[in-house]
Symmetry: C2
Subunit: 372 residues, 2 copies
């Protein structure tokens, strides 16, 4: 459980048969050609980035990749969850076709979760599939969204409703890119780190509680440990259930309530990690009301979420029937089946279960958690 | 080689491991629940059809499926290759989300190749993948596009540029639906039947030459044999190379020139099968000029294409540099690699090879084949 100083690049393997790939975690990876040795050589490469991250890192990555690809193109998307839709995705296809990119072209996602999800989905669809690499520059993307092969875009009626399971060839987490991350985004990433303890590893929750201040202060060994351990837990779960037929759903702890918050507020209003942070607190409350955990766990989780700089009070989504609005939004979640909402609940710290819950109890939780 | 009368439903297996599925070929399948026994049960089903086929068959199929699904919804798309784009695809997603369809929902493609390609792609992407079934109602879809798992939509810069390899759970070819097919569409389907002989089975080319009139007259035993043998050959090729890394490309005989014709004329001007028919004649010419086949084969292929009611003279795509325009269009084909066009050529009847060809020779072929 001790944090060891790690100047060297760390490596976590995602084991998915012929779709296996490594996650590399280290400093300065985007300036070093070596981490990209695992990527297939090709004439063309396309860096997909956004207006915030592109000016900081795209030229540096392009210079590094020039050693592997004869032509390195870049396309810059508008930044934010609000642009995670078909029109933006089409900018990637337009760029590929305008530049005559063939089906060996490698796509590189340079940015956060939105860039990663859209680049992965574009790679899944362009000419029915080209290779892609994740170069996540946000903490959230490094510990969660870039790992596991979920890609996609939003539909006005729901988040990530259109997408594919499509694995990258490599995830390169350059910790030095976190230095330019706004504090609010850093906190959003901490939500997903906090998530892994309750669902899979009680000791990691303790570690997170002890190091939340160090993580917010960008302490490098703490970050390296948090990213590695998060990726390890995610890798283990994804390796057992790539296409989310069962176990993998536990990674959505906090996400059912969280998606309702994001959809109800309008995508982009709350950051995904903020919604997940608050959603975990709500899911903990629900677990407690269903007799799965003690109330002490709810307090403990609320405290670490709050210390991470994340909201713990749920926003009101409707003036007259707030709980009803939450329930409606949760019923169109992908995890719902025939209109039945399936919640990820904590059944003792370190163990998650997925099950439905009575509407009346869910309403109580929403009322109890909602901001006055 | 004799055609046997086949009142019973015939079955061809596509062997792709855990993605294997059967093709059923028979009469009256859309009115019979039995063929659909292989489809997973689910609360919701969505029939995707178009404005031409829907009025003829959608209600009948819905009545049959009502025995397997509590709710059978229908969405009707505009008809034609010109609508094979994102906006039309989105009508499917809108229908699924408006009706609260979850990720066990089964999609049924009822129509020709365009409906099948779009339904399959929508199924691949909706909530990252739901099951789908092909119910092809055109000869072209029955012998080619519904089999093999290629799905997708067009981009202004190229045909089928955005898509997925995604296998159906079942293909149900109801031969009785061909009775309502316009003669021009029937001819377009014959192009793909004619294709299988030259690339894989010299005896089947002889059979096709002997039965082309019977097929145009909708002779049922002839149709049953042609559909079954076409599906068998396609199944064998796809089973060896699901994702088109090599062998599968031979199924694109005639398609490289054909795609240039379709793109150059504007999608929908020539039917896909018409472009492929003419494209096969051009590819045969190219094979002969490269010394792979005798000129007798070129004449033979031209004759059977013409007898099928298909064009054998290539349209002019540009008034000043017609061959240059063909070459430009072929270079953005998915099968091109780093700008090099890879042609499917006939290396003796029943055997196809994939290789590049000198631009000068390709220009000669285009000039020789082009209409006055």
């Amino acid at each position: 459980m001790e944090v060891v100083s790690t100047p060297a690049t760390e490596r976590v393997e995602i084991d998915l048969g012929d779709r296996s790939y490594p996650i590399l975690i280290g400093e300065g990876l985007i300036d070093d050609p070596a981490p990209f040795d695992a990527v297939p050589r090709s004439t063309d490469a396309l860096i997909v980035t956004n207006t915030t991250v592109g000016p900081l890192y795209a030229q540096r990555l392009a210079a590094t990749l020039a050693q592997r690809h004869a032509r390195v193109h870049t396309v810059t998307l508008p930044d934010g969850e609000a642009f995670k839709h078909w029109q933006t995705l089409n900018l990637i296809f337009d760029a590929l076709l305008e530049r005559g990119c063939d089906r060996k072209t490698v796509l590189y996602a340079l940015g956060g979760g939105v860039v990663g999800d859209m680049t992965g989905f574009a790679a899944a669809c362009y000419m029915r599939g080209v290779p892609f690499v994740q170069v996540p520059t946000t903490l959230l993307a490094q510990v969660d969204s870039s790992v596991g092969g979920k890609t996609g875009i939003n539909h006005p009626a729901g988040k990530n409703m259109i997408g594919a399971f499509y694995q990258p060839r490599l995830v390169a987490c350059d910790l030095s890119t976190l230095a330019t991350l706004p504090p609010r985004e850093l906190s959003a990433g901490l939500a997903e780190i906090i998530k892994y303890g309750p669902i899979a590893d009680a000791a990691f929750l303790e570690w997170t509680e002890a190091h939340v201040d160090a993580l917010r202060a960008l302490d490098r060994p703490a970050l390296a440990h948090a990213v590695r351990r998060s990726c390890e837990i995610k890798a283990e779960v994804v390796g057992q259930d790539e296409r989310e037929s069962g176990l993998r759903a536990i990674l959505n702890f906090g996400h059912t309530f969280g998606h309702a918050i994001e959809a109800g507020m309008g995508y982009g209003e709350w950051l995904h990690g903020e919604a997940v942070g608050c959603g975990m607190v709500m899911a903990a409350h629900l677990s407690q009301r269903l007799g799965l955990v003690e109330s002490g766990f709810v307090d403990r989780l609320s405290r670490v979420v709050e210390r991470a700089g994340l909201p713990v009070r749920a926003p009101r989504l409707d003036a007259t029937d707030n709980a009803g609005r939450y329930l409606d939004l949760m019923r169109v979640d992908k995890k719902a089946e025939a209109g039945e909402i399936r919640f990820v609940l904590i059944d003792g710290v370190g163990r998650a279960v997925v099950r439905p819950a009575p509407d009346a109890v869910v309403r109580e939780v929403i009322d109890a958690c909602s901001a006055g």
